[in-house]
């Protein structure tokens, strides 16, 4: 949920209007479908669940590899699993409206876009994925429940975020290339989605143990009481996310030369463009530094032209980055561990 609220200024009134109409129509459908399954007088009470999501977002989870940063629940997929996609969407919509009116997160005009990206898409797509992975046969175990919840969260969050570049491109106010913006949004939200998936599963596992009747699809679950999943399953899911991420990074690296390099040095799309920097001559310091970098790099220029090699390069790059981040984090942590733990912040 963090900071991906669409702003008014990135849209034009026409695009914002179309998105708002689309969101209003889909909310109308969700409302009708909810009333069919729920006592109509109870529908307003779903606002209380909206308050729950706000409260749940206060429960932070310190991320393992990056001390100092913490993730929290977004809530869309959890609501869909507990209430079903229709009611879940309604609750998410009420949250987004309150976020807009009270916390000024996302503007009035962009409300339609935000309801689509963070309400409709995560709830409906996430729920569809959850159901698809859960399957139709009885006796679903903890591992499959984990896979369903995790996949639903990642796909729901990523697809919702992937809408943002398209909406922005349709409005045309900002001229960041669609493909680059899309890759960035998907990359960042793969990580956010993975955290969301882990937390959502932690909640689902608790509910499965205590009150399985609150979960959609609980009739398929095995009666076993074990809800713990083994490390191989968790590691496998995270590795899958890392692989997609690595693939994306290598794709971006092959599609675009280094962003800054590109700005100053070459511009194939613009024939009138004059490069700001002279091409380096071999004797200059930069050229020698570059040559050294080429020789020293394990995978020079992300592996040349070969696509398979590029993917491997992306993967290795991701893993190396993660390991380095982890080591730095460990070092920093050892330092701060000697300090007294900070008192809980009361807001």
């Amino acid at each position: 949920m963090l900071a991906m609220h669409m702003a008014n200024e990135l849209l034009t009134p026409v695009v914002a209007g179309v998105l708002a109409l689309l969101a209003a129509g889909l909310l109308g459908v969700a409302c009708r479908r909810t009333r069919r399954s729920l006592d109509p007088a109870r529908v307003p009470l779903m606002g209380v669940l909206g308050a729950f999501v706000f409260a749940a977002q206060m429960i932070n989870f310190t991320l393992p590899f990056m001390p100092g940063t913490s993730g929290h629940l977004g809530g869309g997929v959890l609501l869909a699993i507990v209430l079903g996609p229709h009611a879940g969407t309604l609750v998410m919509a009420s949250i987004l409206i309150v976020q807009c009116l009270i916390f000024q997160d996302g503007g009035l005009l962009a409300l339609g876009a935000n309801i689509l990206n963070m309400g409709v898409v995560p709830c409906y797509v996430g729920y569809a994925v959850y159901r698809a992975v859960l399957g139709h046969r009885q006796g679903v175990g903890a591992a499959r429940l984990y896979a369903a919840t995790f996949a639903a969260s990642v796909v729901g969050v990523v697809l919702g975020a992937a809408c943002v570049p398209f909406e922005t491109a349709a409005a045309g106010v900002i001229t960041v290339p669609l493909r680059l913006f899309l890759l960035t949004m998907i990359g960042v939200h793969l990580l956010i989605g993975a955290v969301e998936g882990l937390i959502t599963f932690a909640v689902v596992a608790y509910l499965y143990r205590i009150r399985p009747d609150t979960l959609r699809g609980s009739e398929l679950l095995a009666k076993a009481t074990r809800t713990r999943v083994g490390w191989p399953v968790v590691a496998g899911s995270l590795a899958a996310v890392a692989m997609v991420l690595g693939g994306l990074i290598s794709h971006a690296a092959s599609a675009y030369p280094d962003g800054l390099e590109w700005t100053y040095a070459e511009r194939p799309a613009d024939p009138h463009f004059q490069p700001y920097v002279e091409p380096p001559d071999e004797s200059s310091l930069t050229a020698r530094a570059e040559a050294f970098q080429q020789r020293a790099a394990l995978l020079p220029d992300y592996g040349g032209d070969d696509t398979a090699l590029k993917t491997v390069a992306g993967l290795v790059g991701t893993i190396v980055t993660l390991v380095v981040t982890y080591l730095i984090a460990r070092l920093l942590r050892r330092k701060t561990d000697s300090d007294a733990p900070a008192p809980a912040r009361a807001t």
Binding site: A41, L109, I174, Y206
Partner: protein
């Protein structure tokens, strides 16, 4: 967290606070649409658009510090996008006698519009009690079910956030930063799960209590906003103002 944190300035008395919520909602919506429709490469015509939010904030005695802080908090995403824009939009455009990359103009325009639009929205929400705002929205045709849902959300927000903060403090006191990832994740799952079950049960109790008091699906309130001459004048003035501001765009271009 207290009700006071959000509605801090909404209970003051001022001519802006006295206006009916409907008039303010319509005015701010109109203002935002016209503001966003200003062409993206034009900066000078944005100047007159500062008048409405500033006037509402100053007359409503909302501290500008508070407003700027709020704008900063919600700005990161927009600032990021605006900052990258000059890289890709490199066509030179005339600005104040010189030539500037178009991307810089768009970035400045987006940030100015963002600040002004947020200023207007904050002026609306901090001069109007949330319950009045909801009543106004309902009278403007927003479905009643949605309005009531928002009302419940607002009413229980503080209760549940307080509950969550207590549970979080209890966890921090017991786990600190020393527990393993698995344990911390399970703690988060347990806390959020308990919170969810409590909320579901609380909603059930609220429903029973409301039924015991004769709730039949409609909420009846005593407060009625009144849409008088003051509101009509205010809306007319805002209408003339945004039209004039928008026309100045055409004149300068």
């Amino acid at each position: 967290m207290h009700h006071d944190y959000l509605d801090r300035y909404a209970n003051q008395d001022s001519p802006v606070h006295d206006l009916d919520a409907r008039a303010k909602v319509v005015a701010v919506l109109l203002y935002t649409v016209v503001l966003v429709s200003v062409p993206k490469y034009q900066l000078a015509p944005l100047a007159p658009f500062a008048v409405l939010p500033l006037a509402m904030l100053v007359v409503g005695r909302i501290p500008l510090n508070f407003v700027l802080k709020r704008v900063l908090i919600v700005s990161p995403f927009v600032v990021c996008l605006a900052a990258f824009n000059p890289i890709w939009d490199a066509q030179l455009r005339p600005f104040a006698g010189t030539w500037v990359r178009g991307g810089w103009l768009v970035a400045a325009s987006v940030l100015i519009k963002f600040t002004l639009g947020m200023g207007a929205l904050i002026a609306l929400t901090s001069t109007t009690r949330f319950s009045d705002l909801l009543a106004g929205l309902q009278r403007l045709g927003v479905p009643r079910v949605l309005v009531m849902q928002l009302g419940f959300l607002y009413r229980y927000l503080f209760v549940l956030i307080d509950q969550a903060m207590r549970m979080r403090r209890a966890r921090d006191a017991r786990l600190g930063g020393y527990a393993s990832v698995t344990l911390r994740l399970r703690a988060v799952g347990g806390i959020v799960g308990v919170l969810l079950l409590r909320t579901l049960e609380q909603a059930e109790r609220i429903h029973q209590a409301m039924q015991a008091r004769g709730y039949d699906g409609t909420v009846r309130t005593l407060r009625r906003g009144c849409f008088g001459w003051g509101e009509v004048l205010f809306l007319l003035a805002v209408g003339v103002y945004v039209t004039a501001a928008r026309l100045s765009v055409l004149v300068t271009s």
